[in-house]
Amino acid sequence: MASYTRRDFLRSSLPLAAASVTVPHFLSQTVMAAPGTEWTSSIPGQNDHRILVVLQLSGGNDGLNTLVPYEDAHYYKLRPVLGLQKRDVIQVNDQIGIHPSLNILHDLYENGEVSWIQNAGYPNPNRSHFRSMEIWHTAHTGQRTIQDGWLGRYLDASCSGTDPCTPVDAVTIGTELPQALRTPDGGSKGVVIADPEAYVWESSGRSRPQNERQKKLLIEQAREGLLGEAPTPRIDYLRRTAIEASLSAEWVAAAVKGYRSGVEYPRHQLGADFRRVGQFIAGGLKSRVFYIRHGGFDTHANQAGVHARLLQQMSESISAFRKDMLRHGQWERITILGFSEFGRRVAENDSAGTDHGAAAPMFLVGPQVKGGFVGEPPDLTDLLHGDIRHTIDFRSVYGSVLNSWLDLDATKVLGKTYPSLKLFRK
């Protein structure tokens, strides 16, 4: 298995990016920050970066049919069609049953590797997909003045002179950069990759030297511009993205080449996405954050089948990923954080579906998580406009992940201190 350190990365690409006399601002903050000599010495502990895999369930996951209060009569009264029967759920205790499609994930729970955080949310819940997603990504509920994300701020704060940021610190699988990875300077952290095989810059020259020179020109024109325009934040953003794309492509290609999976991943989009994360980690890509989206949870009509399928996909993908990472000796470094922008209305609608709701469960999966349940089951007799009230602020969960897993003072990222939760073993 090939392992590519930051040092290798910089050795191959830095001379090109550094050739400029005027170092653009954005480069001086990233790979350019450290003096060149630092990069020739070994950097202890580089292989041990802990990894956070964020799994976003887009559309609003029905938390009440994920963790089912199967002894609560109110549940069946409000969910005459969609309510899951006691005999069908996986009973974890005398109150809570887990959706049967999560049986594979539940094996990990039995192993102590899954924590469920119940009724996570925030005050004055917003029922717009877009606004609520924005709140989860920015970790700010007030006015929409803050547009940068909690993971972008985390990476900003965790990079330092001896451990500077690289373009692949965060890898988003898919086609869109999540707002969570936006940074306060108007930029963003990390790269976006849909298909590693297509993630390569192909020159059009007829000879090796021609191709080399094209590549050099590509970076030079990204650095200097073609038209003599004065840089603006937007121009900087485009230039930086172009440079990061060129630089990261080689590294990604090398990591992908070094990967052999002995594990069969399920054949759907989410399975493929987890496989890619596995590929990057096992291939030695030095990333701290991976971001995956699992869409389709906006179940306004005919929810039962769709919801079961989505949970099933999630469950089997996580399980395959874990097996793969165990084989590669990487599982110890990994925690998965799962969330959705909101839960769904407690009462089902007339279309055998559910409308937008409020609080819902989050979950953590990994060898270092404490396991079990955090918080109480929802009180269905005390609803807020028909929705479940939140009892745990989602930022408490972020805070615990930051403090206990990513070893960073969470207040630097969240702006204030939220009640801490014990979510990890240590």
Binding site: R131, Q210, E229, A242, D355
Partner: protein
């Protein structure tokens, strides 16, 4: 003066008959005067006045054609600049012609087929019917791409694209291609007019009724989906001036709509006739009453006025300016064309704040490239379709109910790679590996002609050719150092020895394609 025309279905390189001295085209572009300046710190929609702000010249025309359309050849730009601002704006924003609304051949045959019952059909025939339907959805996508590239009314298509994203409906859920075509035609027919009327028409458009589950919104058990998006995404903006209660009450007022036989119909027996209270209006409200109630709110003018401004002028307009935009939009009675005329003739539109500050969407990138280069009359439509999807803008399949977001989000490392692959294919005719899985239609005949970049009589003029390329792609010349770098690639062999550049020779042509590929891959080409 040459009569105004933009791509009258004539794809030939209008400006570059070999006998013409192409470099003379530089003359009508006084870009030596520098970039457009910020005329005032006061952000208002004051009219652009040549006597104060300077002559409205080629660069202004270039900017207008990029924004109100998808750019064009230097010759098209020159024509606009000769006619001046008002004539150009009137010309680009002219009302749709019959041709712009003509239906493709497949539409009529499919209209007949879709009403035929499937009950007597064998499984094989049912499958065939389904494949025909899916095939026509692809036809619709291809037709639109062709129209975007070649329509003499590019503004109409651009506005249609704006509304396709604003009132986003996806073929994922609306599977009938003719219904989808009629949905888009609604924007072509009504998009330039009163936005309030368009909103009402969209509400009862079968594609929208299906897309937002209106059929399941019935008396007694309202489904809030449509009511919420109507306020949040189409008219007022998230959480602005409406409450959850307004959404719930509006949902009741919107009950009773469904689609039967491909038409939207109102079924009184499924409608909730009770008294509702929506945004301060009370009574046995129905759909039109809800829309009327929404448009009595000042925010309704602001939301769409600002969104149009951000799409056509620049993002994040200042607070004071937003106020003015809302007032102006209300003054012209929500008339989209009148409002956009105000924008396109304002000093602000021609200021530094607007000039080259937007990020190209994939459609803008691809379509404007075809138009600037007066590309082949038969562009590779399947490849274009696939490439747009990979870049993140699969026409007819917007990502969600909020459509495509504009701005920085268009560009990330993955999207950029896909842009590179597409440009590689376009400039060389070769399909790069990164694209092979999506694009199988590739032929050497479809690739770019380098003839427009040959300086007539002087095929060895490296700098002339480079500046001609810049004129096409940016409407302004290359900075000196950049030109020197690129010229070096064209004039030096692999051992760094000087080679003769001659754009009539295939080796130079090949290298020049490489340079076009690079120029279009630059961060500078991703803005407009």
């Amino acid at each position: 003066m040459t009569p105004l025309s933009v791509r009258q279905c004539d794809f030939k390189h209008t400006g570059y008959a070999a006998s013409e001295p192409a470099l003379d085209l530089f003359t009508p572009f006084p870009y030596t005067t520098g970039t457009m300046s910020s005329y005032s710190d006061r952000k208002t929609l004051a009219r652009y006045r040549p006597e104060v702000h300077g002559p409205w010249h080629g660069q202004h025309a270039y900017h207008l054609l990029e924004r109100a359309g998808f750019g064009g050849t230097p010759e098209e730009v020159r024509m606009l600049s000769e006619h001046g601002m008002d004539a150009s704006v009137d010309f680009l924003l002219r009302a749709p012609t019959d041709e712009a609304l003509s239906k493709p051949d497949w539409a009529e045959t499919w209209r007949e087929i879709r009403y035929q019952s499937t009950s007597g059909l064998s499984d094989e025939e049912k499958r065939e019917r389904r494949n025909t339907r899916i095939g026509h959805m692809r036809d619709l996508q291809r037709d639109w791409i062709q129209r975007l590239i070649s329509s003499p009314q590019p503004f109409l298509e651009k506005l249609t694209l704006f509304f396709h994203s604003h009132f986003a409906v996806s073929a994922e859920k609306v599977k009938d291609p003719l219904m989808f075509l009629e949905h888009l035609d609604l924007f072509r027919q009504m998009g330039m007019g009163d936005f309030r009327e368009l909103t009402k028409a969209v509400c009862r458009n079968p594609a929208m009724v299906i897309f937002l589950d209106s059929a399941s919104n019935v008396k007694g058990r309202p489904n809030e989906n449509f009511a919420r998006e109507l306020m949040e995404l189409y008219t007022l903006g998230e959480g602005v001036q409406y409450t959850e209660r307004d959404v719930q009450e509006a949902a009741r007022a919107l009950t009773g709509w469904r689609v039967r036989q491909y038409q939207a119909e109102f079924d009184l027996s499924r409608h909730d006739p009770g008294i509702k209270h929506v945004l301060g209006k009370s009574g046995p409200l129905r759909m039109n009453d809800v829309v009327d109630a929404i448009f009595t709110r000042p925010e309704a003018a602001r939301f769409i006025a600002v969104k149009l401004f951000e799409f056509f002028v620049y993002q994040h307009p200042e607070k004071d300016l937003q106020d003015e935009l809302a007032i102006r939009f209300a003054e012209v009675n929500f008339h989209v064309r009148e409002y956009l005329k105000l924008l396109f003739t304002s000093e602000l539109f021609y200021s530094k704040q607007a000039y080259r500050t937007l990020i190209k969407s994939p459609v803008q990138l691809v379509i404007s490239t075809y138009r600037k280069l007066a590309f082949d009359p038969n562009p590779p439509l399947n490849a274009t379709r696939a490439a747009l999807r990979l870049m993140g803008q699969n026409l007819l399949w917007p990502p969600d109910v909020d459509g495509w977001k504009e701005g920085d989000v268009w560009v990330n490392t993955n999207a950029l790679m896909m842009r590179y692959h597409w440009l590689h294919f376009l400039t060389t005719g070769e399909v790069p590996e990164g694209l092979t899985r999506a694009v199988r239609e590739a032929s050497a005949e479809t690739y770019l002609d380098v003839a427009p970049f040959r300086v007539p009589g002087k095929p060895q003029d490296v700098n002339g050719s480079l500046q001609l390329a810049a004129l096409h792609l940016f409407g302004r010349p290359l900075e000196e150092n950049a030109a020197t770098r690129l010229a070096r690639y064209l004039t030096h062999g692999s051992n760094n020895a000087r080679v003769v550049f001659d754009l009539t020779k295939s080796t130079s042509e090949e290298r020049f394609r490489g340079i076009l590929y690079l120029m279009m891959s630059s961060p500078d080409y991703q803005r407009f």
